[in-house]
Amino acid sequence: MAGVLVSTTINGDAVDFACPQDETLLDSLRDRVGLTGVKEGCGTGDCGACSITLDGRLVCSCLVLGVEANGREITTIEGMADGNKLHPLQKNFIEHAALQCGICTPGFLVAAKALLDRNSNPTEEEIRYALAGNLCRCTGYDKIVRAVQASAKEMRRKR
């Protein structure tokens, strides 16, 4: 392997890894860093299962190269809870049965958090469009939208 050394911050921790130049950040995160909460559904940026934030911006990690992460900050689903305290979105996804198989759940949570971080009071339509890059095949999205609505309400109350 003609590896390139990449230095990043992942979920607040300094992490170095080496990867080939043509490897996706998704593969680097899963196979080299061990963050398998980041899922691959398509590898072409169409399903959102691999959603992460890169310097605070929501991206599909399958469309980013591992080497592009050098010097940047990454957050994944593994960094969403505060210790053993779940993020309101995580708690509400469980309480509202917003997951069935759960493979899309990490991506939805990362994308929903990115929405609520910039819009604390989204309309149903804003939620639906903000999550339109994430595919779920089990739920019909009904309980996902309700879980995001409940989370937004709860987070506004706590502010």
């Binding site: 980041v38 559904g41 198989c101 759960g102 095949r137």
Partner: protein
């Protein structure tokens, strides 16, 4: 096994509550481990070389250059997977689908596979394999495939002694349809087509295979049924079933598509040859091209009725495209077609037809949605012709207890009538419609399946309960099974933990298919818990030194009854568990069952759409599902099944289809061009759970997973037809098809 499975109208304490699922935290934190999330020391990456041709003779495969590439540890072709099937043609079909033998039968059919130290090396190795093909004529359309001069897909399939693509023809029904049609005041005959769709689970197929030099092996895999995978893999590779341990990972969706082996036997063959663990993860385009989508169909429906709305006869001819290997999909279509109705004269003929497309697998109530599209569209046409409200027309003809079903059995208590009444009285039916909007409704049926199940229940020293099941949890069944165990034992839900055991840890379980997971494992859980209660009663009797008959189990504790012992303090499950080492050892319950009589399932759906006459684009603006659950163990996940099936049906009705070119190659093998519904495409999906108990389950449970996908094609078809004023007869009703229908009407 002598257990009485009869329904008893009991009061529930925890069953029916909306508890948090036990695997919830793992799934919202990224901890849950799916098919691609396993790693083994020294593992290799396995990749497949696939046919670029729809149909071709494989004249030669030269793997020598790939084998010489540094880092390549194994290359396998069909030569490494000898035919051990001993004349079992069905098994040989499975082998041939996993790896092409003398012919590639569809675009994407596997022809070779490599295992290498990393992905980059494996990809280079695939490019070094040289396959010499002789391209053969192909056929991908079901009607074309039935023509006398069509290219023959499987040489061993024959009709009346002549090579044919029709693998079987099945007929169901009763009465005399000719006589019935002669009695009709109104007859409607119409033909319909539906295109091929994929289950579209978000997790691609993935496994980690490891075969040891001693011939034993382990397989970690995303599957709906690891026991079935063990049977197939062991048979195809010549292994003892007991020496192959298959562990089901968490599963990222299946909907029927993960009931068959695809890459797994080949992954094991690669591992055996390389003597290293091999991980195979399919790409999305491989999932589309080379796993098991559902059938495309061509269906003719004829229904005759009196002016008062009584159906006098109904008939169907259904042609189901099975892909390259014979299956039973046309038969199931024929069986389900008229199952909602009480008909004196009915006949359904189902053809199973081979094409140069991937082997078809089950997709949620397999075959029923396409038949229902034809039947329920025609029902609306008949109702319109006799001037009757379509809901009233269906109510008048609905099957009921005692009805001889069109596919043979006589129904017990069923839910079609009640779902229709609920639809009739639903506020949705009275809501006003706007411009370019239309409303439709339709009914659906699914058999449900019971099958073989085996369950263990072990009580720990601290009184916590381990429930060990063998049915894969695809959508929250562990929560439901913990509720059932807690209900029986009389303890809090949180005191029970359900686990899905590997094949080395439990007896055979059939797959999670046929809406059977919660139904069958739930039944086995009830009996396993009752088995454990018997043990605890006996321990209590021994501890009290009183006769067993004087001990009852109530509210999670043993109670002594009768004049002599009635004042003894109760013994809780925890107290009995704590003393178990000195009272006879571990406390466990066990059950194995063939859970027959799964209880048929019916649903009625209402849908409102708005069609843009400029673009032909359709938006679903309101959707309501009414379905009989028998008994909803965990209502959230029952609603989730209703909503998920409806959403898949909406995608199928409006957008999703396999598009083949004239070259027989799939043109849209990805989520960009095969577009499943996204969040902004859908409204909230309202649900109404009816509970008409299944008389042959102690709690009255019926399977709930599949029926919800049956009505949508027709409900949306009726809604779109009402919105645009043209009868839509081809699914999906994509914008180009709707525009074409509008143009034809205007010209």
């Amino acid at each position: 096994m002598g257990h009485d499975t009869s329904y008893t109208d009991q009061e529930f304490k925890v069953v029916g509550t909306r508890v948090n699922r036990p695997d919830g935290i793992d799934k919202v934190t990224g901890r849950a481990r799916y098919g691609a999330d396993a790693y083994a020391p020294g593992q290799l990456v396995g990749l497949f070389l696939r046919s670029p041709h729809a149909h071709a003779r494989i004249k030669k495969i030269d793997t020598s250059r790939a084998e010489k590439l540094k880092g390549v540890k194994a290359v396998v072709t069909s030569a490494d997977l000898p035919d051990l099937t001993d004349g079992n043609r069905g098994l040989l079909d499975i082998l041939e689908n996993c790896m092409a033998r003398d012919r590639a039968l569809y675009d994407g059919h596997a022809v070779a596979a490599v295992a290498a130290i990393d992905r980059q090396t494996a990809k280079r190795a695939l490019k070094l394999i040289k396959v010499t093909y002789q391209v053969l004529p192909h056929v991908t359309d079901v009607d074309e495939a039935m023509k006398p001069d069509a290219p023959i897909v499987q040489e061993y399939v024959a009709t009346d002694g002549l090579p044919s693509n029709v693998s079987q023809v099945n007929q169901f029904g009763h009465g005399d349809v000719d006589k019935g049609f002669a009695e009709a005041d109104v007859i409607v005959e119409k033909s319909y087509k539906t295109e091929q769709t994929h289950q579209g689970y978000i997790e691609p197929h993935a496994c980690l295979a490891s075969v040891s030099p001693d011939g034993s092996g382990e397989l970690w895999v995303t599957t709906q049924g690891h026991f079935g995978f063990r049977i197939n893999c062991a048979q195809l590779l010549g292994m003892d079933m007991a020496k192959l341990k298959v562990t089901a990972s968490e599963i990222g969706g299946g909907f029927g598509g993960k009931t068959h082996v695809w890459v797994e036997p080949v992954a094991l063959a690669l591992s055996r040859k390389a003597n290293r663990p091999v991980k195979v993860v399919m790409d999305r385009d491989e999932v589309f091209k080379a796993t098991g989508p559902t059938c495309s169909t061509s269906v003719d429906i004829k229904i005759g009725a009196k002016k008062d709305g009584t159906i006098t006869a109904a008939s169907a001819v259904l042609r189901y495209q099975n892909g390259a290997f014979p299956a039973i999909w046309g038969m199931l279509g024929a069986m389900t077609s008229f199952a909602c109705y009480d008909l004196k004269n009915v006949k359904s003929v189902g053809y199973d037809v081979l094409c140069n497309r991937p082997k078809v697998a089950a997709y949620r109530a397999p075959s029923a949605p396409m038949a229902a599209f034809g039947v329920e569209s025609t029902m609306d046409l008949v109702a319109e012709k006799i001037g009757m409200n379509p809901v009233d027309f269906r109510i008048k003809n609905a099957a009921k207890e005692g009805t001889l079903a069109s596919y043979g059995p006589t129904y017990g208590p069923i839910g079609i009538g009640p779902t229709l009444e609920a639809v009739k009285n639903h506020p949705h039916m009275r809501a006003r419609l706007g411009k370019n909007q239309g409303r439709g409704m339709a009914c659906g049926f699914w058999f449900n399946f019971g099958g073989q199940t085996c369950t263990d229940l072990n009580i720990g020293l601290d009184g916590s309960v381990t429930l060990t099941v063998g049915t894969v949890d695809v959508g929250g069944s562990r929560a439901s099974l913990c509720l059932i165990a807690a209900e029986e034992l009389g303890i809090p839900y949180e005191q029970v933990k359900a686990n899905v055991a590997d094949t080395a840890s439990l007896g055979h379980n059939d797959m999670t298919e046929g809406s059977r997971g919660t139904f069958s494992s739930g039944m086995a859980t009830i009996f396993a818990a009752r088995d454990a209660i018997e043990v605890m009663r006996s321990r209590a009797a021994d501890m009290w030194e009183i006769p067993l008959d004087d001990v009852i189990w109530e509210d999670g504790q043993a109670k002594a009854v009768g004049k002599k012992h009635g004042n003894l303090p109760t013994l809780s499950l925890k107290e009995i568990a704590a003393k178990s080492p000195n009272t006879g050892g571990p406390i466990a319950g066990h059950n194995e069952v063939v859970a027959d009589n799964a209880g048929v399932s019916f649903a009625s759906h209402i849908c409102d759409v708005e069609v843009d006459p400029e673009t032909g684009a359709t938006k679903v603006i309101r959707y309501t599902v009414v379905q009989d659950a028998g008994k909803a163990i965990h209502p959230d996940y029952v609603e989730g099944q209703f909503q998920g099936g409806a959403a898949q049906g909406i995608g199928w009705a409006l957008n999703e289809e396999y598009i083949y070119g004239d070259d027989g190659r799939l043109q849209n093998a990805g989520f960009l061009d095969y577009r499943i519904p996204v969040c902004s495409d859908l409204p909230f999906i309202d649900t109404k759970i009816l509970e008409i108990p299944n008389p042959t389950h102690p709690y009255g449970v019926r399977g709930v997973g599949e029926t919800s996908i049956v009505p949508p094609l027709a409900a949306i078809g009726n809604a779109v037809s009402n919105a645009v004023g043209v009868r839509m007869d081809h699914i999906p009703m994509s914008p180009p098809r709707i525009l074409k229908a509008l143009e034809e009407q205007n010209s």
